[in-house]
């Protein structure tokens, strides 16, 4: 059962799940299939979904970035601060994107130059960026952004049920999907995720790659901050609190391996739709929101258990076919047979 095939299978499962949820939604709520509802549905998790895309690349490359939610907040805060100070958005937006890049680069440098575990580094910058956001904007909220800005944040592309932010998500998904699956940069990402040392010995510029991935993650988080500000027509320092968990959840649910080396962008997109539709259905059916988190948690665990059980089932069947005693040390026997003699 090769990785590729397993992932494809997982994406199939997700697709089926989405369809099933849509069916449920359609039966329990008359308005579910309405155009409006689609735009609500796709708008609900926009920022999370957008941040999930670069996060997928980062995790595939064997790292993780917990600081995205804080970077979103920082970008919100700075944008709001500048706007309140009378700085026009066409200056403000590039500024926060640059800040995003710098923040991401900081993560990247700490991980590559100082060889620190990204889990801890970004745990630190998670607090750091959030703190800076609060320092910049303090308790106040900034609003009264120009019409065009809030329209872009909340309204649909004229004549379609597609919200503007979703367009950005779609574009980003296509671009990153293309890079990951069709270019050698993507191949390098997988190589680094599966065997850093071999990649380095093969002339892959590991540090540069990771640095750019963290920077990308930072920029996109800042972009998500801009969208967040536009969508809610206001900027706050506490924007996006708790989003990182959802981002990571979407990525893992999409079949990306937490240890790196495996995962696809389509998987992540499907995972986003799964959660979006689920949440929408639950809200429409006026079910208490805790169902959302219960279902999410269950899904997340199943996303690993199902393929695992499937594989163990396969082994069990083989084992029964040629009745033999299970190996006392729980690994898959074949691996050891190969490993044993080859280990040098």
């Amino acid at each position: 059962m090769t990785t590729i095939r397993r992932l494809v299978r997982w994406e199939m499962l997700l697709a089926i799940l989405v369809v099933a949820l849509i069916a449920v939604g359609a039966t329990v709520s008359p308005v579910f299939l309405s155009a409006n509802n689609f735009s609500n549905l796709s708008a609900a998790l926009t920022e999370v979904a957008i941040m999930a895309l670069p996060m997928a690349l980062v995790i595939i490359a064997g790292e993780i970035d917990l600081s995205v939610e804080a970077m979103l907040g920082l970008s919100c805060a700075v944008l709001g601060f500048l706007w309140a100070e009378g700085v026009p958005l066409w200056i403000g937006i590039p500024t926060v994107l640059i800040i995003g890049a710098l923040g991401g680069a900081l993560n990247g440098l700490l991980v590559t130059r100082f060889m620190l575990p990204s889990l801890v580094v970004t745990l630190g910058t998670l607090a750091l960026f959030r703190g800076l956001a609060l320092v910049v904007l303090g308790p106040r909220g900034v609003s009264r952004f120009p019409e065009w800005f809030t329209t872009f944040g909340f309204r649909n592309v004229p004549g379609t049920p597609i919200p503007w932010p979703f367009v950005i998500f779609a574009i980003l998904a296509i671009v990153l999907g293309f890079i990951l699956h069709r270019t050698w940069a993507g191949r390098h990402i997988y190589a680094v995720g599966r065997n850093v040392e071999a990649a380095r010995y093969s002339g892959v510029r590991v540090d540069r790659l990771k640095l750019s991935l963290f920077t990308l993650s930072g920029v996109v988080a800042a972009l998500a901050g801009v969208i967040f500000t536009a969508r809610f027509a206001s900027a706050r320092a506490d924007a996006g609190e708790g989003m990182t968990l959802t981002v990571v959840t979407i990525v893992l649910l999409g079949g990306v391996n937490i240890f790196g080396g495996r995962g696809t962008i389509p998987g992540v997109v499907l995972a986003f739709f799964t959660l979006a539709v689920l949440g929408n259905v639950l809200r429409l059916t006026r079910v208490s929101t805790e169902m959302q988190s219960i279902a999410t948690g269950a899904l997340l665990i199943l996303s690993v258990v199902v393929p695992m059980v499937a594989q163990q089932l396969k082994l069990a069947i083989e084992r029964v076919r040629r009745d033999r005693h299970p190996p006392s040390v729980g690994h898959i026997a074949g691996a050891e047979a190969a490993g044993g003699e080859e280990a040098i």
């Binding site: 409006n36 609500n40 059916t285 169902m291």
Partner: protein, 345 residues
């Protein structure tokens, strides 16, 4: 092996079960209202509180339900787990697509909800704000739970009353730094303290924020007691804060007094043991009742929300719509040892 499979199976089963709950629950929530003739189209109001796990809004909901039964309308309440605008907005948009007669909203942030509420109004859904207001223009009517300026003055009064000889340090324990009501009340209170000679000797030393979270509020209250040894009164214009403060004071055995806004049920024992001899609030169920009632009036066109319109609400009395289409429930109600036992919410 088979053990694992068994476990996995049970787990999947459990998940299925959980997943199936929504449908059931939804059937339950669709129960038709009391036996009376619904209007056509039937009146339906969706309440979206700041958060669903908050006794304050559940108290309001009871009032709204009463109104719904009387008016033969539908009432339902949905909302986010945490008081967070980002989580609240999807509930607004999804409520809108269901095309109810009206939406009643307690905004998690005045501006965040504006786009979604405006969209709702564009689609002919009436919007009634209650408890905490969306920015003006994003609602048809806002039901103010209490006369704001009144609260400011009352808070000052109570502080003065509790501080020996109306002198000494007082501090404010508020909700979130971003909570509009609290900020408004605190502002008015500060004015009153500054401009009325009567309060000349009261020294408002600081304002801290407990984010309407029991733990944070407790920690902040701790901090106050430590930082200001001479503190006389803690003023907490938030139901969570006042309770936390009272608890801390009791635990520390400090002689600081606590006042502000709180639930009779929470504060009863502290009123009795003199930690918080006096505090205030309004009748929360009445707030829900009035909100639902106004929604119905907007729907059947009796009122439009224009300034100066007047109307009468059974069991509550006559109301006039003020500037910014604000209706005020009434003055804050003072609780003390004399009356605390008469209330239960």
């Amino acid at each position: 092996m088979s053990r694992h499979l068994g476990w996995a199976a049970t787990f999947v089963g459990a998940a299925m079960l959980v997943a199936s709950v929504p449908v059931v629950a939804q059937d339950a929530s669709m129960e038709p209202a009391a036996a009376c003739t619904p209007s056509d189209p039937p009146l339906s109001v969706i309440f979206i509180p700041k958060q669903v796990n908050n006794p304050y809004f559940d108290a309001a909901a009871t009032g709204a339900q009463t109104a719904a039964d009387e008016l033969c309308g539908e009432f339902s309440q949905v909302g986010p787990q945490n008081a967070n605008a980002a989580e609240q907005v999807p509930f607004i948009t999804d409520a809108t697509t269901q095309a109810p007669s009206a939406i009643a909203i307690a905004a998690d942030g005045p501006d965040e909800v504006v786009p979604s509420l405006t969209a709702a109004m564009e689609q002919g859904v009436k919007v009634v704000g209650y408890d905490s207001s969306p920015a003006a223009g994003a609602y048809d009517v806002f039901v103010n739970q209490v006369d704001f300026s009144g609260v400011g003055v009352l808070l000052a009064d109570w502080a003065c009353e509790l501080a020996p000889d109306c002198t000494g340090e007082i501090a404010v324990l508020s909700a979130a730094e971003t909570a509009p009501n609290q900020n408004a009340w605190i502002a008015l209170m500060t004015d009153t303290l500054a401009n009325d000679a009567k309060y000349a000797n009261l020294d408002l030393v600081t304002t801290v924020y407990g984010n309407d979270d029991p733990q944070d509020s407790a920690t902040q209250a701790q901090g106050l007691l430590q930082t200001y040894p001479d503190l006389k009164v803690i003023v907490a214009p938030t139901t969570v804060g006042i309770l936390a403060a009272a608890q801390v004071v009791k635990q520390q055995g400090s002689d600081v007094k606590v006042t502000g806004l709180g639930f009779p049920n929470d504060m009863r024992e502290y009123v009795k043991d003199g930690i918080s001899p006096v505090f205030g609030l309004w009748s929360v169920p009445d707030l829900g009742y009035l909100t639902y009632y106004i929604a119905s009036l907007l729907v059947d066109g009796t009122i439009t929300g224009a300034e100066g319109e007047t109307f009468t609400v059974p069991n509550l009395g006559d109301y006039t719509i003020g500037p910014d289409s604000v209706v005020t429930l009434g003055p804050a109600f003072r609780f003390d040892a004399s009356n605390i036992d008469e209330f239960n919410f």
